[in-house]
Symmetry: C2
Subunit: 311 residues, 2 copies
């Protein structure tokens, strides 16, 4: 067995991502010791009970002492306060990273609290489920998923390379980009789709002429995929939209323009425009399948794919 | 083996739904003989080659002669012309049904061409994949999926009961409702979600600052579910929006109102409103899982669920 990549990893926040990292680090022997901090005593107790942390601490400051990797895995809106708490307790030579879905806001919140002699390498694993909490994690969450690093002035090449090794060892593909570009890309592929899904589920919820039981019964015809997206952690997503405001509003504006164009085509009965639009979007799906980001198996709206197509 | 429910079934149109019905009817012995019609010779040849039709005909009129069940499985916009073609050739005592995603428009298009002594029972199986064509069908497509019947003045109780038996024998749960309510429910759970998904994929496609390869690589973070929805058959969906115009525009209007409310909350930094909204939508997801319409397994954005959570 190769030696662990870090001697002591401190997980600050013990939700889905941190607990999945703990499972993966333990399974692959990537950390000598895993210590943790969570806001509530219940979560800290659970973390020890289910074995994701070797030790837990009642303050973040205590948890980071002596750690060579500190992972900030709290909602983006809580990063500034946590960073201020841990700043004075960080060890020389340590690396601080985070797993936030937004990068510019996290950098602004955290970087000022990182002392000389400590590296800061922001990261964002593009992985998750609609579940949350310390019991929701599992070791394979990051397998074959992207992890984006957005190095800053406080990211030394050594610290970045070592963190990249950790993510690769947990099964991720790692890319690097600058933080503003990250935030725009994520606004397109994740943040705006989530807001739209939340909105559509909200519309269905308070439409009086269609009962909720009908919505639920017949959800498999398209709506169901939206409800899965719209079931994600409310606090995390509130913070995403508040902190990636500009990019999200930009993409939302384009979305609305586009939607109005299609809405007008429906109202005017312009079948050619609709057909041409739907043909273009189909090609993107094909590219995603070719890129290995999904399979072509027909699971659209199906709980359990029963059988491959009989081609 | 129980006797077949129909002696001869004529499938008019040989795409995903019709070919799946053929596979299911053959597998469960529900039809004495299956004959078919498709517009192109290539599709007709394929249908015989892969065994979904015992015989095919070059015109719909020939195909329906002597059939006791005629299934109209063409895009909604083609229903009127097909109905006019087959009207004079239908056998006394036969039942005509369809599988269109919109019901009022189909009834208006088809009913006038149904002669005295022939029943017409509109149906809509809520099942599909993003694939199309005669080779895309498979016998289990309808298993555990809803099929909605919207009986009309031309639906005799006997014809409706017999058609219900067919759908149940193919694995569906069957509900009955009136056509206007069907169209509204489907606008909520299927048509509007599809339009929104098409729109979001379209936005991603022509955003210059984010490359298509980035969109494709990082699609698993939410966007991917949209691309699957937006890959469905363009002709079918064009016709859905053109023929379920009023209900779709109604739901789209509500969606836009709602989206603007959330957009404003983002712009104003109103975190409480966002959090409360996202908490409400999460409850709907829970109801869908409790209703057995999906599983809680964390497959969000994952091509192949690797492992159950380690709870």
């Amino acid at each position: 067995m190769t030696p662990p990549i870090y001697d002591r990893v401190a997980l600050i926040g013990l939700g889905l991502i941190a607990s999945s990292m703990a499972h993966a680090m333990k399974q692959f022997g990537l950390a000598g010791e895993i210590v943790g901090y969570a806001k509530t005593e219940e979560t800290r107790r659970t973390a020890v009970e289910i074995g994701i942390c070797d030790r837990v601490f009642a303050t973040a400051g205590e948890a980071v002492q002596g750690a060579d990797l500190v992972v900030l895995a709290v909602p983006v809106g809580a990063m500034a306060e946590i960073a201020a708490d841990i700043g004075p307790h960080l060890s020389q030579g340590a690396c601080v990273t985070d797993v936030g879905s937004v990068k510019q806001a996290v950098i602004e919140a955290v970087a000022p609290h990182i002392p000389e002699g400590v590296a800061f390498v922001p990261a964002h694993p593009l992985a998750g489920t609609e579940h949350s909490g310390p019991r929701s994690g599992f070791a394979t969450l990051f397998q074959n998923r992207w992890c984006l690093l957005t190095p800053t002035e406080k990211s030394t090449p050594d610290a970045t390379t070592r963190l990249r090794r950790l993510w690769e060892a947990m099964g991720s593909n790692v890319d690097e980009m600058d933080a503003p570009h990250h935030d725009l890309v994520l606004a397109v592929v994740s943040h705006t789709p989530h807001l739209i899904a939340y909105t559509m589920v909200g519309v269905a919820d308070h439409l009086r002429r269609v009962s909720n039981s009908e919505v639920i019964k017949y959800s498999a015809s398209g709506f169901r995929d939206f409800t899965r997206i719209a079931a994600s952690d409310p606090t995390m997503w509130r913070d995403v939209f508040l902190t990636n405001k500009e990019a999200t509003l930009d993409i939302l504006g384009r979305f609305t323009e586009e939607l109005f164009t299609l809405q007008r085509a429906i109202r005017m009965g312009d079948g050619d425009e609709l057909h041409a639009y739907f043909t273009r979007t189909r090609a993107i799906r094909r590219s995603i399948i070719e890129a290995g980001q999904d399979t072509a198996a027909p699971d659209f709206g199906r709980a359990v794919p029963a059988k491959k197509p009989s081609e």
